[in-house]
Structures are given as C-alpha cells and as structure tokens.
C-alpha cells in the first residue's frame, strides 16, 4: 500500500491527460514525482507543475497547501488522495 502524500480538496481536468489537484501536502511533493490516485497504485500521474500562493515552485513541503499539475490518467473518477507507491 502506498503512502498518502497529498489530500485532494478539488481536482479538475486542465487538458488532455492533465489534471490540477488542489489540497494539502501530507509529505513533501517534488516536481517530477510520480504518484498514484489510489493507495494500491500503480503510480501513473507525474507532477508536472506546482503552484502555491500564486507562485510556481518545485517543492510543496509537508503541511503546505497548493495546486499540483498532474500529467497522466486517473484510475478513479474523483480521487481524494495521491499516494507514493513502491
């Protein structure tokens, strides 16, 4: 089972295979991380952008809130968490 690294408050489709997930980091999230939308994975969503307080950044530290831009396909309709698997 994967570790939850992000709690999703809202997620919207931003383009083909691109999603913007807003919420709180439960663990540090880095640009380029590959995450899963279920605890069982597999990881299929790459963090291709991070913004917080209106600023683009490459790190969302634990406890911070922000928006992750995710590239890839969701395996469920409305994930409530993002997980680091393996």
């Amino acid at each position: 089972m994967g570790t939850q690294v992000f709690a999703v408050v809202s997620i919207v489709e931003a383009g083909p295979n691109t999603w913007n997930a807003s919420g709180r980091a439960y663990e540090d999230v880095h640009l380029g991380d590959v995450l899963a939308d279920t605890p069982a994975g597999p990881g299929q969503l790459r963090v291709s952008g991070i913004s917080t307080y209106g600023k683009p950044t490459d790190l969302l530290s634990r406890m911070m809130t922000g928006t992750l831009q995710l590239s890839g396909q969701l395996s469920i309709l409305a994930p409530t968490g993002l997980y680091r698997v393996g």
């Binding site: 709690a7 408050v9 807003s22 919420g23 980091a25 913004s51 307080y53």
Partner: protein
C-alpha cells in the same frame, strides 16, 4: 545540451549591468528557452538577460503565463526560482566573504562590502518585476543567515533594497495584476499553445489585502519554516488563534509547540496576500516574509499548552495530541472558528500569559 552551474548563472546574470539594447516585438521564446521553457544554455541565459531588461518583455511573458501558456510559465518559473535566487545567494556570499574577494557579482557590493541592490534597478515596477526582485531578496536573506550575517545587517540590507523601489512595486502590484489578466494584445509564445486555466489563475492570484488587527501562527519554536515556504518567502498565518493552536499542537511532535501573536503594528510594512487552497477553513492569509522573520517580529509567544488552556476556558477545547496533517485537517473540520470578540479575548489572555501589555 549544456547546462550551467549556479555560480556561472549568477556570473552571467551579473552582466546585466552592461547596457543591453531594447527588443522590439513580442518575446522570442526560441532565443531564451527550449521548447519546454527551460533556460539552459549560455546563449539562452544571455538572451534571457535581454528579455528581462527590455521594456515590456518580462510583462509579456508574465501575461502569457497568466493566460496558461506552459512555456511562458516555465520561463518565469526559471527566472523566479533559479536565476534571481542565484543572484541573491551570490550577493549574500559576497557580502559575507572576507575582503569581498569573490569576483562574482561585484557590481552588487560597495567598496566596504555592503550589498548594493541598485544592480536590480532595471527590473520593472510591476508584479513580474517585484516577484523577481523579491526572489533575489528572499534567497539573500536565507543564504546570509546561513553564512552567519547578523540579523540586523540582513534586515538593514533588505530595508535598503526595498527603499530603492520595492515599496512602490508592492503598491503597483495589484494594478499590474489586473492589467496582466486583461492583457490581450501580447503576441502568443511560439511553441507554447497549451493553456491551463487553473494554474494560470494561480499565477495571478496573489492579491494583496489589508493586515488584520492581529494574526496568529502555530509552529515549533525556532523552526525556520519548511523548505517549501522558505523558497517562496512566505509565511502562512491565521486570523483565528484556534487554528494556530491546532498547528502548534501538531508541532509539539517535533519540539516545543508555540503560538505566535503579531499585531498589525508588529508587522508594519509587511505585505499580506490572500490565503491559499484552504483559506476559508483556516482563516488563513499569507505574509510576504520568512517564518523566522515573522517569529522575530511577533511580540507575543505562548506555548501550545497555554493556548489550549485559554481556549478550553473559552469553551473551545482542542485535543492535547494531534499527529500529522490528516489529524490537523480532521480537527480543523470538527471545530468552529472563533468570533471576533473571542479572538480579542484570546489575544488579551495570551498577552497576559506572556507578560506583555
């Protein structure tokens, strides 16, 4: 592809003091970035210098980013998170170096080694320019602190830099923001047609707002803030001491949890911005300063246990143990926010507990 190290990037960017001819037309993205918006090669770095100095070009890139252009967004991100922080760090290293021997960015220091920020005066007094300037100043603060530069010297340096043009930038930021969102005549970036309304709205979302009478922050004592917060030079605070107490209680996992109370007088001159994703839940706002600076300026600090005791007496009990972000979210959703009258009661009791006014 040739990528540049930090020192080389700073050195190349120091060449900004050399006059650069103005560019005509829209930004030439192919000159200063690759297809993804990365600024990597020396040629791209030199072209990026021209971009930043040329009137209107930086604003055009910023406007493209605000409209969701990924390439423009990445270019601005490169400037804000890599190149300008490099300048700030290089200035700190120079000002901390014995006899100022470091050749890099010598233009940014006077003969007695005090940093001279006039080297950044070419930055436009717009939100885009202000953000790049702040990126350099924030990185300077962090690096100077690491190098043992005295706090008073850092603060004096930053104040001097802000006196040059920063205050005006802050004032103009809101106007520039509105202009950026409404700028429709900017030429589209070549190779960057993808748009992203959510991320683009995030780029221009940093709306300044008035400071409340008091703000509260719960954290571990002497914690300099997470790496993520330090990178963006911002400190989240709450208008509600209950929220701060929840965070301070969670922080007890790592050290002495503490609730800081800062009045608008303590924070005079500070820019406050709207809160982030969970702002309504946390009654959160952002302060454009580092967490360490906030802790220094807050006149009242009480242990988390004392904050909980005050809230308990007011009829708002908080669990004595909160472990992890999920538990924080759970407690925040299970508790009501305080009324204005309750907030003032908490503030008075905290001041009394801290031995203050």
């Amino acid at each position: 592809m040739r990528r540049l190290g930090r020192v080389m990037r700073a050195a190349l960017f120091a060449l900004w003091l050399v006059a650069v001819p103005a560019l005509a037309g829209g930004p030439d993205y192919d000159a200063f970035s690759d297809a993804q918006g990365q600024i990597s090669t020396p040629e791209q770095v030199l072209a990026a210098q021209e971009l930043v100095r040329a009137p209107g070009q930086l604003e055009a890139v910023f406007a493209d980013a605000a409209k969701g252009n990924h390439r423009a967004l990445r270019v601005f991100q490169e400037l804000e998170t890599r190149f300008f922080p490099d300048i700030g760090r290089a200035v700190a290293e120079r000002s901390a170096a014995l006899k100022c021997r470091t050749p890099v960015v010598k233009e940014f220091a006077t003969k007695d080694c005090r940093p001279d920020w006039s080297g950044l005066d070419f930055l436009p007094r717009t939100e885009a320019g202000s953000r790049l300037r702040n990126a350099a100043l924030d990185a300077y603060k962090i690096r100077a602190k690491q190098l043992g530069v005295e706090d008073a010297a850092i603060i004096a340096t930053i104040n001097a830099a802000l006196a040059v043009g920063g205050a005006a930038m802050v004032v103009q930021a809101a106007e520039a923001r509105a202009a950026a969102t409404g700028t429709a005549k900017v030429a589209p970036a070549s190779g960057g047609s993808a748009t992203d309304p959510v991320v683009s709205s995030q780029v221009v979302r940093l709306a300044s707002r008035p400071l409340p009478r008091a703000v509260f922050r719960g954290t571990s004592e002497e914690f300099a803030g997470s790496a993520g917060l330090q990178r963006i030079g911002l400190t989240p605070v709450s208008e509600d001491p209950l929220v701060a107490t929840v965070f301070a209680t969670e922080a007890e996992t790592y050290g002495r949890g503490v609730v800081y109370v800062a009045t608008d007088a303590d924070l005079a001159g500070t820019t406050a911005v709207e809160g982030n994703v969970l702002a309504s839940l946390e009654r959160e706002i952002g302060l454009q300063m580092t967490p360490s600076e906030f802790a220094q300026r807050a006149k009242i600090a009480i242990p988390a246990s004392q904050a909980r005791a005050i809230l308990e007496r007011m009829g708002h009990p908080i669990p004595a143990a909160i472990r992890g972000p999920a538990a924080v979210d759970q407690v925040l959703r299970a508790t009501a926010r305080l009324t204005e009258q309750e907030i003032q009661t908490f503030r008075r009791e905290a001041a009394a507990a801290a031995g203050g006014p």
